[in-house]
């Protein structure tokens, strides 16, 4: 009697197992296809548009024809300003948290807490803040500088979190040895800790760069709409993601250029991701070698 029940159960369980496997395989395949769709679409449609001229010429006819050289220049400037201001601040915060403050002190939890909250703020709210603070209170207007500074606030939490965790990977034996050798904290940091974590910091900066290039909403009303070649950082300038948005929604007949720009954006992100991978690889090799 009991054996029959057992056999019956086994059959049922077998069927269940088979069913679960089928469902999981089908849905996973669907998901993979869905993930590949946008990338495929952009590559197929943007491929024709992509050429040397497209990257080096100025946009004409609101971007319908011509290239995206001025857009790339503005994007580069915005991202550069964001990285130049955010990286030192993130480094300061990370060094403060790992080297100077005890892990569970009040001051370190205030710093960490405020950055955690900052990480959750939506980018459009950063945009509002940038408009009120950089564009109006500091009177920078709609400019590349204002956009870059707002962007730096947004990537700061990501950046400082990953630099902090890079600094944490260095064992405390290094620091204690530094102290034992009668070095100051600064010398220990400069001669012992930093050389070890330099690849880790490079990875963090690249990660921040990826986020900065991808951002759109915040730049819509801080860095302006002008598609002219910027002559200084106080000029208004359009980033590539804003350019794609403009072409897709406000410029009838701008789709082809939008596909081209989207492909350029995807390719630059891919390049960054490859760089990131190589740097991480180098870091791992270095750690293994000791």
């Amino acid at each position: 009697m009991s054996t029959t029940t057992f056999a019956h159960n086994t059959k049922k369980h077998n069927a269940n197992d088979w069913l679960a496997t089928t469902v999981i395989y089908i849905f996973s395949a669907l998901v993979l296809i869905a993930l590949a769709l946008p990338i495929g679409e952009i590559i197929i449609n943007g491929y024709d548009k992509l050429s040397f001229d497209f990257i080096t010429q100025l946009p004409e006819d609101s971007g319908r024809s011509g290239g995206i050289s001025s857009i790339l220049a503005s994007t580069a400037l915005i991202v550069l300003i964001a990285m130049i201001t955010a990286t030192p601040l993130a480094l300061c915060t990370a060094i403060m948290l790992t080297e100077y403050l005890p892990e569970h002190s009040l001051r370190s939890s205030i710093i960490r807490g405020s950055l955690d909250v900052l990480a959750g703020v939506p980018s459009v709210v950063f945009g509002l803040f940038g408009l009120a603070f950089f564009c109006q209170t500091l009177e920078l207007g709609y400019s590349i500088l204002a956009g870059g500074l707002t962007l730096s606030c947004m990537i700061l939490p990501t950046l400082s979190r990953s630099i902090t965790s890079a600094l944490h990977t260095v064992g405390d034996e290094y620091r204690i040895s530094g102290a034992a050798l009668c070095l100051s904290r600064l010398s220990t940091l400069w001669h012992v800790t930093l050389p070890v974590v330099l690849p880790g910091i490079a990875v963090s900066v690249l990660l921040g760069l990826t986020r900065a290039i991808a951002e759109t909403a915040l730049l819509l009303f801080t860095s302006g709409y002008s598609d002219k070649m910027p002559s200084s950082i106080t000029d208004s300038g359009r980033s590539i993601s804003v350019h794609i948005y403009e072409l897709a929604t406000n410029v009838p007949g701008g789709q082809q250029s939008a596909y081209g720009s989207a492909l350029v954006l995807l390719l630059s992100l891919l390049l960054l991701s490859v760089l990131l991978h190589l740097t991480t690889h180098k870091l791992q090799r270095r750690m293994i070698r000791g």
Binding site: L30, L35, G178, R185, T216, A217, F221, A248, Q255
Partner: protein
């Protein structure tokens, strides 16, 4: 943990350059921590006079959103924001869980890590590209079925694709943290793979999966570009899935470039509301994480 306190006790040589360096670092850290305070101050300052003059009730009882005629009802947009985000979560999270289960328990070929890398890469795709793709592909398909191709459902669908990588990555790492000896023991007892996943792996990973979902919805509510490009931007309570609607974030991005005076202040109020909704979600996740931590002790 105690290695750190060793470093705290280590006595370093103190030089004058070290002092100077410390003050530089301190200034940097203070500036970094002040940004959050500045954001809150600026949002409140920009909207305080206006809220004080108009009264909070107007943002929920007015006859609609006509900022130029002093009508500032934000509730349709709040409902739209919540609706589109929870909808996206409802689409994305079951798929993310299934996909993570596949990656952790089924995928044993040479491509084992490959699918996880694909998810990593898609997580870095800019949201404007998702929005553009939706406009070019999803909307025309939707147009064949309804009169408005840009509607709540298009936004939901593409938003789901956007938050999928976040949820899938965190769920995968939660599933990977299931202790190996539990899986080994279950396998030794003859438990089948499907029961192993259902009875052991998923319950064990549940806190991690819930956190992943909360993070996903936080991202969805704060997201601007996808909903701006795909939801249709008509201010109304969506009565069906296929109605065009406008979210809080899209409202800011749409009207900020030309808003003046009270209209501008009302957009800062909108921003404040987004921040409040996101903060509530962050607090929920903190409380949940803390409860799980104390339960485990």
């Amino acid at each position: 943990m105690h290695t750190r306190s060793n470093n705290d006790k280590a006595i370093y040589r103190k030089t004058i350059t070290d002092r100077i360096f410390w003050s530089v670092i301190a200034v940097g850290a203070v500036i970094a921590s002040l940004i959050m305070v500045l954001i809150v101050i600026f949002l409140v300052v920009e909207s305080y006079d206006f809220i004080d003059r108009v009264g909070v009730l107007h943002f929920v009882t007015d006859d609609g959103w006509w900022p130029l005629d002093q009508l500032y009802n934000l509730t349709p947009m709040l409902v739209a924001s919540l609706g589109v985000s929870f909808g996206a979560l409802a689409i994305a999270s079951p798929l993310a869980i299934i996909f993570s289960v596949y990656c952790v328990f089924y995928n044993k070929g040479w491509w084992q890590g490959f699918f996880e890398r694909i998810v990593d890469v898609t997580a870095a795709i800019p949201t404007v590209i998702y929005g553009f793709w939706g406009l070019m592909v999803v909307v025309p398909i939707m147009n064949k079925f309804t009169s408005h191709g840009v509607n709540l459902f298009s936004g939901m669908l593409v938003l789901a694709m956007m938050i999928f990588p976040t949820i899938a990555m965190l769920t995968t790492s939660a599933l990977k943290s299931v202790p190996f000896n539990q899986i080994q023991g279950a396998t030794a007892l003859g438990v089948r793979r499907s029961s192993l996943i259902k009875k052991i792996a998923l319950p064990h990973a549940k806190p991690g999966i819930v956190m992943a979902m909360i993070l996903g919805i936080t991202r969805a509510i704060g997201e601007t570009m996808v909903v701006l490009m795909l939801c249709g931007n008509v201010v109304q309570f969506p009565s069906s899935l296929f109605d065009p609607t406008r979210t809080l974030t899209a409202n800011i991005a749409l009207e900020m470039p030309y808003a003046m005076g009270d209209h501008r202040s009302s957009l800062f109020v909108t921003g404040l509301m987004v921040l409040i909704v996101v903060s509530i979600l962050v607090i929920i996740s903190e409380v949940y994480a803390n409860r799980k931590r104390t339960m485990n002790h």
